[in-house]
Every structure is written in C-alpha cells, then in structure tokens.
Symmetry: T
C-alpha cells in the first residue's frame, strides 16, 4: 500500500432549488480548480429565506482531493 | 453601520415528501408569526418510519429574524 | 400525513429536591404558557451548592410544542 | 404507561440520486432485518464525487426500533 | 494483561417514574440479550409530556459488554 | 428554596465597534422586551468584512431571564 | 463590581442509589478540600452494571469554587 | 451505481502494547463475527494506568461493514 | 438567484492588544491574498501568557470569500 | 528534545469592563499560584446582566503551565 | 458498594518518539504527584513540526485518580 | 510583539504501518508545498480494514504554518 496524501478544502454551494443541487454546485466548482476530487462531507446546511423568491440553500462541504506526489 | 438585533427561533417542520419540503413548511409557518425572517440553519434531521406510509421527515431549524427597533 | 410544525422553547427548572423535580417544574411552567407541549430534551444539568441548604438543581430543557395552524 | 425499551442501530445508505433516497435505502434495509423500526436520525451526510458518474450520497443514520418483551 | 474486546449497544429505556428507573429498565433488557454487560454511559435524556399522565422519561444509553473469545 | 423557572432566548447583536458592544446591543434589546434578564452565554462570534467600512461583529447570545409565577 | 476569580475542579462521585446521591457525594467531598464551593455542572453520567448488586452511578462534575484574593 | 447499505458496530479493543495494537485487536474480533468489514473510525482513546504493569490502552472504534442484499 | 460558490480559509491572527485586533489582523491578511472576502467565524480564542510582556491573543477564524466563476 | 509535561487548570475571570480584562484577571490570578504559566484557551464566555450596573463578563479559561521535573 | 470519589487532572505529555510515549510521560508525571492514579482519556493529540528535528507529539490527557477519604 | 498571521490547512496522511507514520507522511507532504509549517492537530483517526493486507491508517490533521508578510 503506497502512502497517499489527501487535502480537504471547505466550500459553500448555493442553490434556490435543493440541498443536492447546492452540493453539486460546490463539488463542480471544486473540480474546476482541484484535480482528483474524491469525496465530500456536509458540515452545515443553512439558507436565506426571501419573502418573494423563496429559499436559497447554502451547504458547507469539506471536499477531499488526492495530492499528487 | 447601524446596530441591528436579530433573534433565533427553533422550529421543526415535517413532511412526507422531502427534507426541503419540511424546511419550507417550517420557514413558511415562521413567516406567518414572525416578521423579517432572514435565514435558517438546520440543527437536526430526523424522521418517523411508518410501515405502510413510508418516511416522514422532521427537520429542526433555527430561524433568524430581524427585530424592529 | 399532514404537515405539522413544532417549536422548541428553552427553559430552566430549579429544585432543591431532585433532577426529576426540576424537569417537572420546568415542564409545568411551560404548559401554563404554551399549548400542546409534547416532549422535552435535557440540555444541561447544573446546580448551586449552598453550604447549609444543600444542592439546588438547575436543569435546562428544550420543550417541544405543536403549533396550531 | 408500560416500560418500553428501544434499540438504535447505525446504518449507512447510499444512492446516486438524492439524500432522501439514501435514507430510504437504509431504512428499507433495516426493516428487512429488524422488526418495529420506528424512527431515524441523520448522523452525517457524505458522498463520493465520481468524475463521470457524478455524486453518490452516503447518509449515516441511527435507526430506532422497539424491542419485544 | 490479556487482550479483551468489548462491544457497545445503544438502547433507550423508558419510565414514568424516574431517570434512574429508565436506566434500570434499559440495562435489565440488555442483560436479557447480552452476556457480560459491564457498564453504561448516558447519551441523552429526553421525555414525553402527557397532559394528564405526566412525564415519561426516555434515556438513551450506550451499554458496554465483554465479547467472548 | 422556591422553585424558580427561567427561559432562554437566542439573540444576535451587531456592532462595527467591538464584541462587547455587540453583546451590549443584544442584551439591551432583550431587556426592552423581556423582564428580569439575568445572564447571557456567547454561542458564536461571527462578522462581516466590508472592504471599506471594516468589520461588523455579529455575536449570538443565549439570554436567560426569570419567568414570573 | 469587584473582580472575582473562580476555579473549576473535575470530580466523579459514585453511588449505588441515585444520580442525585452521586452528585451529592462528589460535592460533599469537594467541600472538604475546597473552600467556597459555589456551583457544579454535570459533564457525564456513566455507571457499572453488576449482575447481582445492580447499578452503580458514576457522575462526573465540574465543581466551581471562588478563589480567595 | 448500485445502492449498497453498510452498518456500523461500536467495539473497544484493549492492549498493553500500543494504540495500533488495540485497534487491530478490535478489528480482528469484528472480522470474526461480521463479514465484509471495510473501515473503522476511532471514537475515543482511553486506558488504565496500573502501578506495576503500566498502561493498558482501550480504544473505542466504529467498525463499518457492508450488509449483504 | 445565481448559484454562487464560496470557500472558507482558516487563519490565526495574533495581537498583544485585544481579541478584536487579532481578528482584524487575520482578516486584513486574508484580504491581501483572497479577493471577495465576505465574512468570518471565530473558531477558538487562545493566547500566550508572557511573564513580562503580558498576554498575546491568538484568534483562529474561518474566513469566507466568494469564488469567481 | 526533552520530555516536558504541562498541566491545565480551569479558571473563571470576571470583569465589568471587557472580555480581555476578565481574561487578564484570570491569568494574573493563576500566575500568583502556579509557576510557568504559558498559555490559555477560552472555553466559554458568559456574563451577568445587571439592570443598573450593566454587564459583568465571566470568561472560563484553561490555563496551561509547565510542571517542574 | 462504598461511595468512592475520583478527581480528574488535565495534563499534557510530550515526546519526540510516539503518541504512546507522550501518554506514558504524562501518566508517569501524574503518578509522582497524585496517588491512586487509575485511568486516563486522550483529549487532543497535537504536535510541533520542526524542520530538522522532526515531530514532537503533545498529547493532552485527563488523568483520573481516586481521592482518599 | 509583532502581529504574526498563521493559516491552517487540512490534510489526510495514510500509512499501513502506524498512526505516527500517517501523521509524518501528511506533515512531510505539507512541508513540500507550504513554508514555515509549525504545528498540527489530529482531527480524526480512521482507516481501512483489508482482509489480507491488514489495516491502513488515515489520519486527518490541521497543519498550521506561518504566513509571510
């Protein structure tokens, strides 16, 4: 077993649609900047409540990605 | 910058449909009683498992609203 | 399944007798102000230690009650 | 009031679709093995991020079930 | 010193009488199914508040028992 | 020792000046609505960082007040 | 308002009788060594389960006492 | 992606040698009873301090295993 | 509502003067490297106690900033 | 690198002036009794709200000091 | 069952060798000052990273010891 | 005392050998990318259990490093 190293980056995705969409938005954005994104963990789920436009979900994730040697 | 004050109220929304629906139900109800609801934070996600009717989601939120002067 | 909404109120009951008595005092008081009190969760158990009069228990509870439509 | 006893079992459901689907998968599986499943609590929401196949949700639950006498 | 292994099982005892009685009910039930029950830790103390019948305590415990070789 | 009951209300005070000022703003506002405010506990300290106007502190408190009989 | 300083000491009381008795045992012992014991907070409630002798409660407390100048 | 389900079992391994040895003892024991053990998470590291025989490590783990269909 | 993504960076500011000054030092430094710094959350407040030079505050913050598309 | 040992003592400083002043009061007092005080960590920030005399801050710290051989 | 009382003391052991060695150093030092040391719990594992001398482990423990009557 | 600023980066080191080796692997990797690495804190200790190859430790650390002016 080789000795791999991973790093964790904390990101917040937002969506007016659903929690899953906010997660997807955050993971997609992480994948643009970071190679080898592997997993995520939800840290907090929050949101804004707009009187007319409804709810905007804000999901904070830790995104794990493998570091290259 | 003026010195605004907010208050947090803890509510539990329930839904047989989805976590988002349970959040929406709770935020809608809070907006009926409280003015100036601004944001929410999910505290816990729980639920009942009914043998026939399936799952009922119970999402506990802290709902933040601005207090008037 | 209808979409019920509950609210949580945080109260501290005190008693020189027992933890259960302090809980009961807090729940009784909540039931005077709030309708449809359903459940409680103990948050912290603290107390004062009086040299002569012994221990006074202070139990912090979250009390859950159903909101009317 | 009789003295009922419940037990909690920790399970992880997975789904490529949604958090609710992962919860449902875990509760369904628990109901195959355990009688009298009553409620669940979400412990953590995690997932894998696959470059092509998208996100796989992994939701850890505590599932509560009533023990028979 | 031999290398013993223990396991932890999470159970909820209920009682209309006291927190201690709810713990006892849970430990007694665990001892019927599991051999070599050794210790417990209280995880949460909750309860129902019945308008007429008073409070029902629900104490969640982790019960530790020694595994046989 | 009489059996007093307290309640806890969660409020957020804001100030562009200091953490103490944000606490004071929240406690002052609570004292306008609630009688017999006795103590507070800081839950979280957050803030906004404005490019020109500097930092705005947002301190979330639980404010404890004694309930009248 | 003078500037008082308190210290916290962590102690574990045990009792075969009740949680309250274990707290009392710990507070009594603390008062023998420490002057000006003022308050306590329950940190954890654990216990041993003896097959014949029943349950022994072990309650860990933080005991607060005022330091003299 | 198929919908797999995992379960978590909490075990305590003990060793007079090292933390790693206590983990290994617990995982080995779990693998005797449970099929498809996949991962573990350390929950707490505790131990006994014997005046003559030195330290005995007690490591509490959650052990994850895949459930068969 | 567009789908914005934010990132969180953990920084520690130090100051011999005050907690607010340590926060300001950390936010200022973050703003030199990161564009669109929006908010912060205090994670821990620690410090060194120097016998002659007094206290140096060390405040750990999570600093949130908006990612560009 | 020699093998140093440190100890942590939990103290509460109070001040009618500021959080920093309450920390300083606690650290100063610890330095009177304990040699080689090195660092501190804020555990909780609480306070009393006096109707006339304003706020009294009560900051609980863990104070770390090096033990002599 | 007699009513024993224990106390917990928080200590930090350091070692350039291993986590176990740092624990041992802390427990040994505690046993020099305190009689009847019985158990310990690891609170945090930290360390310094020296560019040339490698890692120094700093393990914070709560050490439990029985108080004499 | 100058006003230094530090940053924290979260990394996961893996090793088939020991927890210390996994920490060392993570710190070594961090030192390749980041200057002035000063300290670390263990966040979680997890691992995979391979039926034939034994245990692979996965230790998540926060690594602190000083930022240059």
């Amino acid at each position: 077993m080789s000795e791999r190293v991973y790093s964790l980056s904390e990101v917040v995705g937002t969506s007016g649609e659903s929690i899953e969409k906010a997660i997807e938005v955050a993971v997609d954005r992480a994948q643009k900047t970071l190679r080898h994104v592997r997993w995520f963990e939800v840290v907090t789920t929050r949101g804004y409540a707009h009187p007319e436009r409804g709810i905007e979900y804000q999901v904070t994730l830790k995104v794990g990605f493998q570091l290259e040697d």
